[in-house]
């Protein structure tokens, strides 16, 4: 069972899809398997992340296990 990346808002366009399965592992390793442009967009300063539905404050040290979901959340625009 793989881990899953979820792309919200304009990151969906950058990824070309709303989500993607990836091999589990440390976040840096996972990002290294993506297109470089996409990896850069995902690491944008205003992009937040949620690991298994929980917002994370620190980007360092994230490791994706099997079945994990990591969502990339660009600035919102609701209402």
């Amino acid at each position: 069972m793989a881990a899953r990346l979820v792309f919200l808002g304009r990151l969906e366009d950058a990824a070309g899809c709303a989500e993607r399965e990836v091999a589990p592992g440390p976040l840096e390793t996972v990002l290294g398997t993506l297109e470089p442009d996409l990896a850069v967009a995902l690491l944008g300063e205003r992009v937040r992340m949620a690991h298994n539905g929980v917002l994370i404050a620190e980007r360092g040290g994230i490791v994706l296990s099997e079945g994990d979901e990591l969502a990339f959340l660009p600035p919102v625009s609701g209402g």
Binding site: L73, G78, G79
Partner: protein, 147 residues
């Protein structure tokens, strides 16, 4: 306080929702509300995406925050997701309170926070092309009034 917070994936009738809210709060001195609708002006379709693990919980937290900040008898927060045509309702917020200023402030606050701090992403189709909408600088200005 009773609060009614819903994320809706199909069209809703704001007048019916508000009628129910009025009926539930006939003892309140004042009920303020705001309805946001899809504007035309070149927009063919509007789409709102959300992230299920965060969006509805965030809206519930927002209702809770309003409740702790003002003296309210009840609060309603409805927000659409999915695709909407011009004229369709997007968001309906209402607050019932003993005093007018409390009801006003709660609705104003909730709208400012839904706009700039809730987990929604909006895109629109114009001339057949979809484009993501970036938050507007004055959405941030609006929300900073409450800091």
């Amino acid at each position: 306080m009773a609060s009614d917070v819903r994320l809706l994936d199909a069209r809703f009738e704001p007048e019916h929702e508000l009628a129910e809210f009025y009926a539930a709060h006939s003892g309140s001195g004042g009920i303020a509300s705001f309805l946001g609708q899809v504007r035309g002006q070149g927009t063919e379709l509007l789409e709102l995406r959300h992230y299920a693990p965060l969006t509805l919980p965030g809206m519930r937290d927002l209702a809770q925050l309003c409740q702790s900040r003002w003296q309210l008898d009840g609060m309603l927060i409805l927000h659409r997701t999915g695709q909407m045509a011009p004229g369709e309702p997007i968001v309906l917020v209402a607050a019932a309170a003993p005093h007018r200023r409390q009801a006003f402030a709660a609705v104003d606050y909730a709208m400012d926070h839904l706009k700039s701090e809730s987990w929604f992403w909006k895109r629109e189709r114009r001339a057949g092309k979809w484009q993501w909408i970036e938050p507007r600088p004055d959405d941030y200005t609006a929300v900073q009034r409450w800091a």
